[in-house]
């Protein structure tokens, strides 16, 4: 077992890893930038090393500085958290070369999943459903028509050479296809100098469903069920829950089994999350895989009673899955998480500054993961997540009532937070009915 772990991260996730280390009797080493000198992760670590000035590129993303700190602290392993260097295969390789265990999958796997086309091809080969589409460029309106009939309307044509919405058209039926195809082609040629288009099945109102997995170093991969993360604004998740109101036990079991065998075949180790889109008929399509622990991992922890971060550490130390999980994964109850951001609840402008009042909620079934505290200063250099509020209830109804109660009792002053927005979302009738899809926030925030 590791004696010392360096946490290559900051904020709430660094503190989360420190918690797991303390409970396992492992010494935790924190790294910090000058802006984080008074952070909780620094205070609660056993050792703390300043590695650079506030800028990410000069501190937390500075691989030589991180490794140098790991060397002088003489650590056995590095936990990368989420974001930052967690999916940087080069960093994982440097750790390996320096004889430091990287708590995550092997670099080759991280690279594979980082290349979207390769990841899709790998998943497809193993029987994981992927979003149907043209294999390559659709060279003419004729070809587009053939593909569209094969894939099934609606479809979307996208520019091969670029993105940002240019050279993209949603085509809903045969009649409008030729015209829209040519429009997209011209637009792409004008924007990127290349009019090539490819085609994908288009889901009007997709739900974002992701599955949590763990893998040991002995070939065993276990699926811990799904989370629904459809409530997003500009592709940033605001609220997550488990189980998904739309995933049946049969679907959970069948996708779980497919993922377990696929990931075991490719040699997946440690924690990971596989993201899917679900169409209106309840069919799941693979989108991408994240080879790290995720922000919303507490949601799964609350319904399975599995400590995912501790599991990561144990698995990285070579423990077998049966010793880490000690029994089958059982889902009980319903959990919801709200990501509390330091931003204006309506304008979404970031709100850095000093927190003057900090009163997080407590009571039955409430968990708050945070590195904030009264008198803390939220620095302007990093992302705006300041707390995760997670609740668990025996069913979705109780979880919603609990979340509403907990949000009401979460008092923060001195900065703006998204708490008022979350309160409105949780009170929304569509949310309460489980009518979710990734366009929810667009409709919710609506034209004003």
């Amino acid at each position: 077992m590791f004696k010392k772990i360096l946490i290559a991260n900051r904020g709430e996730i660094a503190l989360r890893v420190i918690c797991a280390c303390k409970e396992l009797g492992i010494k935790a080493v924190a790294i910090y930038s000058e802006a984080d000198r008074n952070s909780l992760h620094v205070r609660f670590a056993d050792e703390a090393i300043c590695i650079g000035p506030p800028r990410l590129s000069e501190s937390y993303l500075n691989i030589p500085a991180v490794i140098s700190a790991a060397e002088i602290a003489n650590v056995d392993a590095i936990h990368p958290g989420y974001g930052l260097l967690s999916e940087n295969a080069n960093f994982a390789e440097v750790c390996e070369t320096c004889g430091i265990k990287f708590i995550g999958p092997p670099p080759e796997i991280t690279r594979l999943m980082g290349e979207k086309e390769k990841a899709r091809a790998t998943m497809k080969k193993h029987g994981v459903p992927i979003l149907p589409g043209s294999e390559g460029i659709v060279a003419s309106a004729q070809e587009a028509m053939e593909w569209a009939k094969q894939v099934g309307f609606p479809v979307i044509v996208k520019a091969s050479a670029g993105g940002g919405g240019r050279g993209m058209r949603v085509i809903r039926n045969e009649q409008e296809l030729p015209n829209l195809y040519h429009q997209a082609h011209s637009e792409a040629a004008a924007a990127f100098g290349n009019g090539d288009l490819y085609m994908e099945k288009f889901i009007e109102r997709p739900r974002h469903i992701e599955f949590q997995v763990l893998g040991d170093q002995h070939g065993t991969v276990v699926s811990l069920g799904e989370r629904e993360c459809s409530i997003q604004r500009r592709h940033q998740k605001l609220l997550e829950e488990s189980p998904s109101p739309r995933v049946t036990p049969e679907l959970r079991a069948s996708i779980g089994a497919t993922l377990q065998s696929t990931l075991s075949s490719i040699g997946y180790v440690n924690a990971g999350t596989i993201e899917f889109l679900m169409d209106e008929d309840g069919v799941l399509y693979f989108i991408e895989m994240n080879t790290r622990i995720q922000v919303e991992h507490p949601v799964t922890e609350m319904v399975t009673d599995v400590d995912l971060v501790k599991s990561q550490i144990l698995l990285a130390a070579g423990e077998k899955m049966c010793d880490v999980l000690r029994g089958p994964v059982v889902h009980r109850g319903h959990a919801i998480e709200c990501r509390i951001n330091a931003e204006h609840p309506e304008k979404f402008t970031p709100s850095a500054g000093k927190i003057t009042v900090w009163n997080p909620p407590g009571g039955t079934g409430v968990r708050v993961d945070t590195a904030s505290y009264a008198e803390a200063v939220v620095p302007p250099y990093y992302d705006s997540l300041i707390a995760k509020l997670i609740v668990r209830g025996k069913d979705r109804q109780e979880a919603i009532a609990r979340m509403a109660r907990a949000l009401e009792m979460f008092i923060v002053e001195g900065i703006h937070t998204s708490i008022p927005l979350h309160r409105r979302i949780v009170a929304d009738s569509d949310f309460q009915a489980g009518n979710l899809d990734t366009k929810f926030m667009e409709r919710f925030l609506g034209p004003k």
Binding site: D46, I49, C50, I72, E375
Partner: protein, 174 residues
């Protein structure tokens, strides 16, 4: 009893501070004691870097073991440096130019083991002159003086780990 409990250690540190002791050794079996009082030229080498105030258990600056009881403060109050047992350094009064480490790594006073040190206390240096090496990931980085003057302080010792921004030398600038 050859070990000390945190309370004893705390009392000992307080005594040392009160009596202005700069150096102190102690062996228990057959007792062997060595005490040296602080003189002008021997103010604490650890007092200048204020970053330790925020990392009470930073192993690298500690002269004495940090008693576990000491850091159970409310997070709002920055705990006073547990690793600097001696009070106010001469550094602040003199307003020296502090040369700080631009990277995290290991401090070496000489270009290679056995070679003479780049500089020592009392030497006059020019801006741009190499003062030491900080090794990071097997790369030897030469750290240059960013001011000209006399080296009056050296805050770290050979092969000591240093963090970003840690004070290395104090120069009385000219």
């Amino acid at each position: 009893m050859n070990t000390m409990n945190p309370k004893e250690i705390k009392e000992l540190i307080e005594l040392l501070v009160e009596k202005d002791i700069a150096e102190f050794e102690l062996e228990r079996g057959d007792l062997k004691l060595r005490v040296k009082r602080a003189t002008e030229a021997q103010q604490s080498p650890n007092a200048a870097p204020t970053q330790y105030a925020a990392a009470p258990q930073m192993a690298y600056a500690a002269a004495a073991a940090t008693p576990t009881g000491q850091h159970a403060n409310a997070p709002t109050a920055a705990p006073s440096s547990a690793s600097a047992p001696v009070s106010a350094p001469a550094v602040v009064e003199e307003e020296l130019h502090i040369v700080r480490s631009p990277i995290v790594g290991t401090f070496y006073e000489a270009p290679s083991p056995g070679a003479p040190a780049f500089v020592k206390v009392g030497d006059t240096v020019k801006a741009g002159q190499p003062l030491c090496i900080v090794e990071a990931m097997k790369l030897m980085n030469e750290i240059e003086a960013d001011a000209s003057g006399e080296i009056v302080k050296m805050y770290v010792s050979n092969s000591q780990p240093v963090e970003y921004g840690q004070a290395l030398f104090g120069i009385r600038a000219r």
